[in-house]
Every structure is written in C-alpha cells, then in structure tokens.
C-alpha cells in the first residue's frame, strides 16, 4: 500500500476514534447530520437540504451550523472527503486508475436524494448515509441498538463503489451527493491543488485522479469534485503538481 493511502487510513480512523472518545465523554453530541460541541455546531449541508425538501422547514440552529460548516469548507474544501471520512478512506485507498467511460452523475444523485426526500416526506439519505454510517456505528455501539441496517447499507455503498471503480472513478469523486455538495459550497478553497511551471502536460495526474479532473486545465466546475486526495501529487514524475494554501506552496 502506498504511503499516502496509509496516512489516509490513519487520519480517517483517528477522526473516528476522536469522535468516539469525545462522544463517550460528552464533549460532543450528535452524528454527522448535526454535531454539537459546546457552542459550536456543524451540520451536513445535504441533511439540511433534505429536511428543507421533506418538511419545508429551516431553523436558526441549522442555519448557524451551516455557516460554521461553510467556513470550514472555504478554508479546507473537501479535505473532509479525502482525509477524514472513513468511507472515503476505504474508497480512495482501494482506487486504481483504469480506463474511463462514465459521465459525472453527482448532481443527479443530489436531485435523486432531494426528489425522494420530498416524495417520502422523510430525509431519505440520512437514514443510510454513506458518510454518516461509520459515525452512526459508533453511536449505535454507545446506545446498544442493532446495526444490521448500517452494515447492510455500508456494504451496499462499497459494492456500488466497486462497480463504478471498474470504470476508473471512485464513489467519492463522481457519485457521492454529500461530497459534491460540500464541493459546490466552495469550488476553489484556500487549500487546493494546482499545477506549476514543471508541468509537462503528460496527463498522468488526470489518469490517476479518482474524480476525473483534468488537472492541468481544471475549470471551477471540475474543482468541485476534488477531494484533495493528493493522488495527482503522488503520481506526477516532474513535481509539476502542488498543494497550495492561498498562493503559497505547502506540498509537492
């Protein structure tokens, strides 16, 4: 296994362990849909949209949490997807570059979720959320309820990921509605990947990218899908891709 993937597994599992201990000790409450720690609260943007679609209700607490989340997103973008989400870690570390044929379907996934939420009058994805399941497993463990649904749903998402990764894409980059919405909120965050003068346009980075981003000529609509997984940095042989914070190079 590559060094980056090891680091990814370590960082995401430590996120989960931190969540577990903080929940047990009572520092934070809630699962990924809405986490509260003291006065700070964060909310899943898709969760908020689903509640809005299902019940046409938006509360002050949700708006406040959404603002905090957006602040994080404007700084770090989809850092969560590549380095903190446990499902994302599994998806990214099992990803291998292959030929690609699929279109980009995450916007359709968001529409699907919202339409079904509206029809069912229920936050449909929240019940079986691919991002939330690892956190909900912790929650279910603490409160001692059955985890069949969670395990089944997680297995379902990973099978779906195995299917679409045959086409060379990962779940996170091309289909995950939660991650895509996080990207939509801040398409070009302070922390982002960019090519520099060393780039020879060999397109190795494009082939290695799980999100199918044309990195040398990335448009804003492509950047939405970037999970900061840094596979492009890893595969570039000319040190032509770098991770930047605002305009300052920090890696690569």
């Amino acid at each position: 296994m590559k060094l980056l993937d090891k680091l990814r597994l370590i960082s995401s599992s430590s996120t989960l362990i931190t969540y577990f201990t903080a929940s047990l000790r009572g520092f934070i409450t809630g699962t990924t849909a809405f986490i509260k720690g003291g006065l700070v609260c964060i909310a899943c943007p898709l969760g908020v949209l689903q509640i809005l679609a299902a019940s046409l209700i938006l509360t002050n607490q949700l708006l406040l949490a959404l603002a905090t989340t957006s602040l994080f997103l404007l700084v770090a973008g989809r850092f969560f997807c590549g380095w903190m989400c446990p499902t994302g870690a599994v998806v990214h570390s099992t990803h291998r570059p292959r030929g690609r044929r699929w279109g980009i379907t995450a916007p359709l996934a968001i529409i699907t979720v919202l339409v079904s939420s509206f029809l069912a009058r229920l936050p449909v994805l929240c019940v079986i959320c691919p991002v939330g399941i690892p956190f909900k497993l912790v929650f279910a463990y603490i409160f001692g309820i059955d985890i069949y649904l969670l395990v089944l749903a997680l297995a379902g998402w990973l099978v779906l990921n195995a299917y679409i990764s045959r086409k060379g894409f990962s779940w996170c980059g091309t289909l995950c509605p939660v991650g895509y919405l996080l990207g939509l909120i801040s398409p070009k965050p302070l922390l982002h990947v960019s090519t520099n003068a060393n780039c020879t346009r060999c397109r190795v980075c494009v082939l290695s990218c799980p999100s199918n981003i044309n990195i040398p000529e990335a448009k804003l609509s492509d950047r939405v899908r970037c999970t900061l997984c840094l596979k492009c940095l890893e595969h570039c042989r000319f040190r032509g891709v770098e991770l930047r914070f605002y305009k300052k190079k920090i890696l690569g």
Partner: protein, 198 residues
C-alpha cells in the same frame, strides 16, 4: 479517453435517478410500529419528516430514557428517539426537565418543541394483571407510590387501578415495577402530539 458526459450516459443516469427517487418515495409506504415519543414531539408524519436522526436528544437526555428505535420497529423510524421506561423514566413532568428540556433545546430541526408540563401526554400505561404482585395477593403498590399524577393510579383493596385518561406516559411506574417480567408496559395510546411548529 473522453471528458464530459455522453448524452446516452446522461439519459441512462437520469432514468436511474428517477427510478431510485420514486423508490425513495415508495419507502413512505413501509410499515412501522407506533412508539412512545419524547414530550413535545410533532405529529408522527411531521416528526419523521423533520427528524434528521442526528441523535442530539438521545445523547443529551438527562435521565437516559431516550433510545434510538431499532430496525425491528421499522426502517422509516430507525434512529429516531423513543421513550424506553425500562432504562429510566421521563422527567418532563414533576422532575428535572419541567422548565428546560435538553432534548427539545438541542433538537436542531424543531421536531421536538417545548410544551407546558400540564399539557404533556406521551402515551399511557398498560397493565398485565397476571404479572402484578398486588393482583396475585402480595403487598405492592410501588406504581401508585411513584406516580406523579393525582388520580392516574388509584388503589382499590390493595390492587392498583389505572386510568389511561389521566396517565401521561412518563414511565415511572414501569421503571419501578418490581416483578420480572414487569406487570406494566408503556404504549403511545392517547398521546397528545403537536400539530405545528411555533
């Protein structure tokens, strides 16, 4: 290698999105069990549409009576809070949670709203007389002793009589009931739910 979306792929995924979306809509028809909700819960349909299953109420509950619903109670209500009197009673009436209720205050979507203690009614208690110590001739009126409501339980010749009209469903009697299996269980019958969010 191609970038962008082919029209055929787009149409295929659009159809898939439509099918999955309507499947999600059909999910509404799945059966689920009626459970005892925390005090101040909206009517079931609205409650299910506003609850994000985030677990704030369950984790902040002072007494620890709230537990998430399991899959056996229905896919639609999985993870939503319910009152489990076997763990602890709910103290919304004549207890620690009369004035401030952590479950209500921490609910981000107002699926739970504050109601005055005298308007709380989560359900009522049911009696299995075969298990009851007093009915079998023993000396026991624990349920009558712990009941916070005047006239919800009245003793008649040493045997408790339950009045479901006055019972608020706090679960104190169920929690305190000594025999195993218990002679009392909580049902959502007669619950008073909130129609609109203020």
């Amino acid at each position: 290698m191609r970038q962008g979306i082919r029209r055929r792929d787009f149409l295929k995924t659009l159809v898939a999105a439509g099918i999955i979306g309507s499947l999600g809509g059909v999910a509404k028809l799945l059966p689920y069990r009626r459970v005892v909700r925390p005090p101040g819960a909206l009517v079931e349909e609205k409650f299910l549409s506003q609850c994000t299953r985030c677990g704030q109420c369950i984790q902040t509950c002072v007494t620890g009576t709230l537990v998430p619903c399991s899959l056996g109670e229905g896919l639609l209500i999985w993870g939503t809070p319910r009152v489990d009197p076997l763990r602890a009673p709910c103290e919304a009436v004549a207890g620690r949670c009369e004035i401030s209720r952590p479950c209500v205050e921490n609910c981000p979507t107002n699926a739970l709203v504050y109601v005055e203690p005298e308007k709380v009614k989560m359900g009522s208690v049911k009696w299995i007389k075969e298990n009851c110590i007093a009915y079998r001739g023993g000396e026991c009126l624990v349920c009558y002793e712990v009941c916070p409501i005047d006239g919800a339980i009245t003793p008649r010749r040493g045997i408790p009589v339950f009045h479901s009209g006055k019972c608020i469903g706090c679960g104190r009697c169920v929690y305190a009931c000594p025999p195993e299996p218990k002679a009392l269980y909580l049902v959502p019958d007669g619950e008073r739910r909130i129609e609109t969010t203020r």
